[in-house]
Symmetry: none
Subunit: 536 residues, 2 copies
């Protein structure tokens, strides 16, 4: 039986750019567009030419995409102007995009309140705008803003807007839940009713996550009949975000309710690039990936309950609804209190450390991990520290350098002008292995850990070249049993600006400075180990 085609329309670079704190450069847009093209989406909505210089430039370039259609976003023409006299619409028409998506009001309330024109003027402007796009030789999509709210208040007018767009020649009429307040069963019902007026093969859906139902609303719309899906990578977007394509795409491909009926430009083979695509976006946005993200999160296939962990090793499908490999992710058995030998073995295997299952060193490693966890270490979120520990016990890791002593001082005092100032300084004394003379480094910082970090990274002799690109990007502190006398756990995230790698290390001590120092040392040693730096 031949399958019906679903069309994927990605708006990460346009509606996603409305996210608080997101600001794509032209180079960012090129990079994300290429990732989306590679993944197999049908449309990449690149931006709003005329609205800002970045988007005008990006959509003024010839598209470098292999299969996806580069799409420009704009608004239907204003009332009281002709198409040729509307600078906004002209900016979109004069872009080099392959397709154009225009937004129109489809709720009579918004036509009245936001535009202040008549319902008929709105329909006329819409029809003329669609015709102008079609005449320019490009595919036209129409985003019907506030469609669902409009439909509930004045069904006839919202349908008239959709029909006008379709009859004027729009390839796609996209039903938008702009405020994100519509619920899944309503979407399914309303879409079903709209398909009686416009064929589903010309209908699209655009949802927002304000009730945490954007993904479900999209799936319900497909069940209701639409064949075009708008969304963003990682669900970025204004307020609570847009429909998350990173969750929708695997569901369409891996769940038989959809996979048996439909196919998309994203093939099962290309789907394995999904986790990578998601991570690249986070990297461009300089965000920490959401470890709990469905399908692609680091924890999506992780478990820490002991009974579950042993069952997963027996038969993965007992606790996994799809395989992690299908979306390019990995199974993660957490090294933790509840886990046990089997999950540590699985981690060792994944890290590629060669060892037999009955190797007594593995038992010693397990004991060591348990001892450390009992005093506050946690390797769940600090895999680099775990790998360092495991390779030290099971493999060979050279001793690159040792810190003989350090001193950190924080002083608050009145300066010469009588103002209160605080100064932080650190001094470290390091022996690089094989050298007889110590290296002394001094660092100043805006806090004791920053000063210590700077001193430590200032001079590692012949190893310095390996850590040139390394920076500390996040630093988390947790007090484990309450009070300043309690144990402190520090988690450090490091980033190598040269390779793009990120890794996490942990340190534990009653003293926050000692704990930070340990995590910083692990971070440097991990990098040297990964680089196969040569010991003296």
């Amino acid at each position: 039986m031949s399958k019906e085609r679903l069309y994927l329309f990605d708006t990460t670079l346009r509606d996603g750019a409305q996210t608080t704190g997101v600001d794509f450069s032209v180079e960012d847009k090129r990079r994300i567009a290429a990732v989306l093209d590679d993944l197999g989406v049908d449309y990449v909505e690149g931006g709003f030419p005329g609205a800002n210089a970045t988007d005008t430039q990006f959509l003024g370039e010839k598209s470098a995409l292999k299969t996806a259609k580069m799409t420009a976003f704009g608004m239907t023409k204003r009332a009281g102007r002709s198409v040729s006299n509307d600078p906004g619409l002209q900016a979109v028409l004069s872009s080099r995009a392959d397709a154009i998506c225009l937004v129109t009001k489809s709720s009579d309330y918004h036509v009245r309140v936001a535009l202040g024109i008549t319902n008929e003027e709105n329909l006329e402007g819409l029809a003329q705008s669609v015709k102008a796009v079609v005449e320019s030789g490009r595919e036209c999509a129409i985003d019907c803003e506030h469609f669902f709210d409009g439909y509930k208040a004045n069904r006839e007018y919202s349908l008239a807007v959709a029909r006008t767009a379709y009859e004027a020649g729009a390839r796609w009429v996209v039903l938008c839940d702009t405020n994100g307040g519509t619920l899944p069963h309503e979407v399914e019902r309303i879409v079903g009713e709209v398909t009686k007026v416009i064929p589903g093969s010309h209908l699209g859906i655009h949802t927002h996550n304000d009730t945490e139902n954007a993904v479900a609303n999209t799936l319900m719309a497909v069940r209701g009949g639409v064949r075009h899906i708008q969304g963003t990578l990682n669900g970025i977007g204004e307020r609570c975000g847009n429909a998350n394509l990173t969750s929708i795409i695997p569901t369409l491909l891996l769940k038989s309710e959809f996979a048996d009926k439909f196919e998309t430009g994203v093939t099962p083979e290309r789907l394995q690039k999904l986790t990578h695509a998601s991570r690249i976006l986070d990297e461009v946005l300089n965000r920490n990936p959401d470890r709990h993200a469905p399908y692609v999160g680091e924890s999506a296939f992780a478990t820490k309950a002991g009974i579950h962990a042993s069952a997963i090793l027996k038969e993965p499908q007992t606790y996994e609804h799809v395989t992690p490999e299908s979306v390019g992710n990995q199974r993660h058995l957490l090294v933790s209190k509840q886990g046990g030998k089997s999950s540590i073995l699985a981690t060792i295997e994944r890290l590629g450390i060669p060892v037999g299952t009955d190797d007594s060193r593995v038992t010693r490693l397990l004991d060591e991990v348990k001892n450390r966890e009992s005093v506050g270490y946690s390797y769940e979120a600090a895999e680099a520290s775990f790998e360092l520990l495991a390779r030290r016990m099971l493999d060979t890791v050279p001793r690159y350098f040792s810190v003989d002593s350090f001193r950190v001082m924080v002083e608050r005092r009145h300066n010469a002008r009588g103002k209160l100032v605080t100064v932080s300084e650190a001094i470290v004394k390091v022996f690089v292995n094989g050298d007889n003379e110590p290296l002394w480094s001094v660092g100043e910082g805006n806090g004791p850990v920053n000063a210590l970090d700077r001193a430590l990274r200032k001079d590692l002799g012949r190893y310095q070249k390996h850590i040139e690109g390394v920076e500390l990007v996040d630093y988390k502190v947790r007090i484990l049993t309450g009070g300043t006398e309690a144990v402190t756990r520090v988690l450090v995230e490091s980033h190598d600006t040269l390779s793009g790698d990120r890794w996490f290390t942990v340190g534990v001590s009653p003293n926050i400075i000692d704990a930070s120092f340990e995590a910083l040392l692990d971070s440097i040693n991990y990098k040297l180990m990964k680089d196969n730096a040569q010991a003296a």
Copy 2:
């Protein structure tokens, strides 16, 4: 028309504790349980007695909840043992919980693969376990693990498990989508079929977010007939999380499709505490709140599109699906005046600070709070610092003492026996108001903050008697923008062992020592203010 009751079962402290990186202390559990009780949920699942020391202790205490039922989690008895000979089940039965929730396998595949027993043995163990709970005089809920997957593979057996639980006397039979792979339309259909066997008034739903449909699946189950909802605050939980009660509750109360038919223990008035409850959990977990979270996120009612912003100013309902006030959140656009001032006024009133609504000092306080929040302060969880600030600006707070300077030193070095040791020392120079001579105090501690705390509390002259019983019980550090160079926010919890009072203070600085110092100073000043200590 009278509405039907929906029962909310929160499992933040049990299934939520399976989240990667989450580790609640007993004190954390007490705090979160009180917040949930205050919000109006019906059941607080507190943990798994017998599985770890924290949960055994927490559920061994008499519940301090006002209306919610404290619930203990456990497993049905093992095959081949009697109820009285099963130590796991006995640990749960001997807890002081008001209700007990037991998990049972409800998929024949899992009975065979994970338990290795016969289908009948499983049913028998279930019936005996339910009866044991009922005989102990407590309400019993049964979590039917893998119900949906089991139902799709062997409908009859899964229904037999549900029926056995119901007939043995379980108040609730909870259908669990343990792997999180079931889709909304399937949940609605299957739940509808189950209600033909067991009345919906005895059915519950428990979903996971592996396809980003946990919220929709829960809503669909309610449409299908269940009347008991399990979920967690902020959707925390293993892998991709559990159903997010923080999104589900407002949808049930604010969307007419549900609100017209149902009511919950969370009244519209209590719903205004939702944002606060969500933030407190993040605070306990030392996480940055998800700013894009539906309903409660900082960006949930924020917009950056110019056209939307002006429309919102004209008529908020044009771009908001519910009002931010209904969930205790704020419109981000109007950040200031309306939302801010009224909530600050409400807090001032609650604290009993006498002030008129048109007092210009309130506006100055509002500006000060906004300035401080923009550089990283957060008063949501540090009310003692807020009260101190407010009373200083609106009322009169004496200046008790001032710290002229301090010096903190941490040194790691080899001691006389060649062992590496770390020493932390602090020196503070304090002027008690009215005295001419400074007081010098030296403190030693197992970290810089502990040393500083000890030095500061060692000698405050005539105020010393007020702080004799004060101790620092928790200390939380959050790095606000990543990296050691970023701003540090420190939250300190203090406890007076004499009065039993607890209070929270905050400090912010690029330097962790400065930030800690500020929070420690606020803590002492707050205590002196509360004691009405006499200034010189």
